[in-house]
Symmetry: C2
């Protein structure tokens, strides 16, 4: 049995999802020879620390009852610097302007020789090269499948499963909220504003939906894909982005009458990195509805491989984090 | 640079595809730190052996001009037993009655501590447990992504990329020939026999098509999936199989008028392992046309993940073999 001592930075929906998944999968992990011991959990108010291993159920209950897991005011960054552990699970919320505390946590983790698994897009969409360089320098592992497409596996699929191929292009639907709004506008012949309101009521869109509907979230994910797959060093500001707010139900119906759907497609190839609404043939593998995400990977040897899955959800995102953890430590 | 000494057993379409891919990807492999040196290539007439590394272009040319690569009559089995090398690339043709020479080659490879990467379904659909046991005993690696779905990645996707999940069920289209015939029958409102003949003319179906159209090929692939994913020990004879030869264009049109397509679906879950024609909703991710393969993996944490790709083709299958080789030896 291999014991992995982990800290969890950020205890919102994804961080709590990670704890739920660790509880649910304890036996599965033991069968794989892995004993994941959480030595600290931090949120914005402070931390619980127990170098022997935190009682995860109690931590979850306390967070839900009191709104915080904190038992003292130690920050995640102080823990990463001072407490002995192997792995930083970084699930603080995304800051795409500066990279925020997530970026500091990751850099500090590498400085201290710790591995990082994260769902936090901001730091990677802003500072991919610096992070990769820091992880290489310290010999740390760095995995971020959960940053793109939630439970839709794409990064590890390309890097490992399709390792014999060169990738020519990747295109896909990388934001479930936009996909939901467009799908519903077509189904109901209803205007954008109405379906945005519906998706906000259902908790699919945020109160401030601009990060999703203006295409910024898709652009961040596309940059992460582009940099990992093609070894590039884009930041999300390099992406040519158009959102979905100008799309009318009339244009969706017109497309439908001609055998097409309109989808917000992120696309990267040699000389192009773009997020924009595009006409997609109804029978294309990219024409998936609802909140699904999808990506088509065009390769030199294997032709086109398409993968579809749930793009969001705390348990789904946590499952990608768990798979990354297993990939680092199994054998 | 890590040098891997490999033998290639079987030099038909897939074996030749492997050599083409090794030639095409030499630089890609060197960039990954891998120098794959082929020390022997065998076909049914004999072998070329060169412990310093065969000239792959000449071997390919000789095979295509003379119909054989053989320079002497040494068999692949004798080479596996007697010549020092790390990896057996097993691409002999499938024998689903006895496992054939492929089974002997794999068992002998493990006996001699060599790793095996294969596209040969027969041995694995018949003797999965024995092969896994033998590979474990000798500490050999054993990879067989290419046996299921050609360039559609499914085994490594489930075992590695989705490692945090328990799989509840897998269902999909595992045979491109059947999918082509059914797709064309619907498009042309034409009977089975006519579209079988068309697919034979195009080289999509074999002269004796029964292995494909009776569902045996799908059953073999399903058994390999079931055993790998669920740790079961089925053989293909345990599968409840119905083929496509009784399907009429009328039933396809009737289905279409109700929003469905008919597909030959392989399906495995706790208490069921079956290949049979099934009604699939037109907007289901499983409703892919032409020769494509598709598989939907239902998981406990990630929901349903669907993957689509080319199910056949020598380069596509060779690409899966190459990715398996990289996964064994990289780092």
């Amino acid at each position: 049995m291999k014991t992995i001592r982990a800290s969890i930075s950020g205890f919102g929906a994804v961080g709590q999802g990670v704890v739920e998944v660790l509880l649910k999968k304890e036996k599965h992990l033991k069968n794989l020879g892995l004993d994941i011991r959480v030595v600290s959990i931090s949120d914005s108010k402070g931390s619980e620390i127990n170098t022997e291993g935190i009682d995860l159920s109690s931590a979850l209950t306390r967070k839900r009852e009191k709104g915080t897991v904190a038992l003292d005011n130690t920050s995640s960054l102080e823990i990463i610097k001072s407490i002995d552990h192997d792995l930083v699970i970084e699930t603080t919320s995304t800051d795409i302007e500066t990279g925020g505390i997530g970026l500091q946590n990751m850099m500090s983790a590498f400085d201290n020789g710790r591995d990082v698994v994260t769902s936090n897009k901001g730091p990677i969409a802003l500072k991919y090269n610096e992070l990769i360089e820091a992880s290489r320098k310290s010999g740390s592992k760095f995995r971020f499948e959960a940053t793109v497409g939630g439970a839709m596996p794409i990064i590890n699929l390309i890097k490992n499963v399709l390792a014999g191929n060169d990738v020519i292009s990747v295109e896909g639907i990388l934001n479930g909220t936009c996909n939901y709004i467009l799908t519903r506008m077509m189904e109901e012949n209803a205007p954008y504003e109405q379906m945005l309101a519906e998706s906000q009521e259902l908790g699919i869109a945020e109160t401030d939906p601009s990060y999703d509907v203006d295409g910024i979230d898709s652009a961040c994910k596309l940059v992460i894909l582009a940099n990992t797959v093609f070894g590039l060093c884009f930041t999300y500001r390099d992406v040519d982005v158009t959102g979905i707010s100008k799309i009318t139900p009339e244009s969706l119906i017109l497309a439908q009458n001609n055998g097409y759907v309109i989808k917000l497609i992120g696309e990267v190839k040699e000389d192009l990195i773009r997020v924009a609404p595009r006409l997609v043939p109804e029978d294309s593998p990219l024409a998936v509805g609802g909140t699904l995400n999808v990506a088509s990977i065009q390769t030199d040897l294997s032709g086109t491989v398409t993968v579809t899955g749930r793009g969001a959800g705390s348990i789904e995102t946590a499952s990608a984090i768990l798979s990354d953890i297993i990939s680092i430590y199994k054998n």
